[in-house]
C-alpha cells in the first residue's frame, strides 16, 4: 500500500477501445497542412498528416472520456510513432479506431499509451499511431 492508502499502480482505462471514426482526406486540407510544415502542397498527402487522420480524430475521444479523466492542462505529448503500410491519397475516406494500450500511474505521474489503427475503405491497414501521453498530477 502506498502512503496515501490509494493504489500504487492504478490501471485507469487500460484496454478501453473507442468507436471507429471516419475521415475524408480532402485535398485542400492536406495541402494546407503541407504548407504549415514546409512540404510541397502539390506532392500529395504528407505522411505526418496522420497526426490528423489517425491520431487527430481518435485522441479527442480519449480526452473527452469522463472515465479516463484526462486533465488537458497537465497533459504532455511525450512520444509519437507512426507506422505506415501505405500513404493515403486525397479523396480517400479512412477509418481510425483508438485504444488505450496502457494507463499507469506512479508517484504523481500518469502515463497513457494510446494506439490508433487506421484502415482504408477496403478494410486494409494504412497507418498505426502510437502516442505516449504524460499527465502530471
Amino acid at each position: 500500500m502506498s502512503a496515501s492508502g490509494g493504489p500504487r499502480n492504478a490501471v485507469g482505462v487500460t484496454g478501453r477501445t473507442y468507436p471507429p471514426v471516419d475521415f475524408l482526406i480532402e485535398a485542400d486540407r492536406a495541402a494546407e497542412f503541407a504548407r504549415t510544415i514546409g512540404a510541397d502542397p502539390s506532392a500529395g498527402v504528407p505522411p505526418t498528416f496522420a497526426a490528423v487522420y489517425s491520431l487527430g480524430v481518435t485522441a479527442p475521444q480519449l480526452f473527452g472520456d469522463a472515465d479516463a479523466a484526462v486533465d488537458f492542462a497537465r497533459l504532455l505529448h511525450a512520444e509519437q510513432e507512426f507506422t505506415w503500410t501505405r500513404h493515403p491519397k486525397p479523396g480517400e475516406t479512412v477509418t481510425s479506431q483508438g485504444r488505450v494500450a496502457s494507463d499507469v500511474s506512479r508517484r504523481g505521474i500518469r502515463l497513457v499509451s494510446f494506439e490508433t489503427q487506421t484502415k482504408d475503405e477496403a478494410g486494409e491497414p494504412v497507418c498505426r499511431s502510437k502516442a505516449l501521453f504524460v499527465i502530471r498530477s
Binding site: T48, A51, Q80
Partner: protein, 117 residues
C-alpha cells in the same frame, strides 16, 4: 544528408493549430499558456515532428518511402527558436534524425525513420 533550419513563429504555430485541428490554447494564447506554468505559447510536438518528417522524406527520396517515423518530444520550442532538423542515412533502410535548437539542445530525441527498401 538533408538539413533544414526553421525559425518558429507564433503565426506558424497558429497556422499548424488550424490545419491540424489541435486548438489547445497552450499553442495559441500566451496568457493561458502562462497560467499553466509555461513561458508563453509553445509549438506543437507534432509540428516539430511534421517538419522532421519533411526533412526525413527528402533524405529518403520522397514521402512515399517513409515506413515509420518515431521521436520523443524532449524539449519545449517557443516562438523565436531556431531548430535545425537533420536526417542522415544510418543503414540501407534507416535514417537517424536530429532536431537541435539554437542553444545546441536536442528538442526531439531518439528520432528515427525506417524506409521502404
Amino acid at each position: 544528408m538533408s538539413e533544414r533550419a526553421v525559425r518558429f513563429t507564433k503565426e506558424q504555430i497558429a497556422a499548424y493549430a488550424q490545419a491540424s485541428g489541435d486548438l489547445n490554447p497552450i499553442h495559441l494564447d500566451d496568457e493561458f499558456a502562462r497560467s499553466v506554468g509555461l513561458p508563453g505559447v509553445i509549438a506543437h510536438g507534432l509540428l516539430q515532428m511534421g517538419l522532421m518528417g519533411v526533412v526525413a522524406a527528402e533524405a529518403a527520396g520522397g514521402p512515399d518511402k517513409l515506413e515509420r517515423l518515431y521521436c520523443r518530444f524532449a524539449g519545449m520550442v517557443v516562438p523565436g527558436d531556431v531548430v535545425t532538423f537533420t536526417a542522415e542515412r544510418a543503414g540501407p533502410a534507416k535514417l537517424d534524425l536530429r532536431a537541435v535548437n539554437q542553444k545546441g539542445e536536442q528538442v526531439l530525441t531518439k528520432a528515427s525513420a525506417d524506409l521502404k527498401e
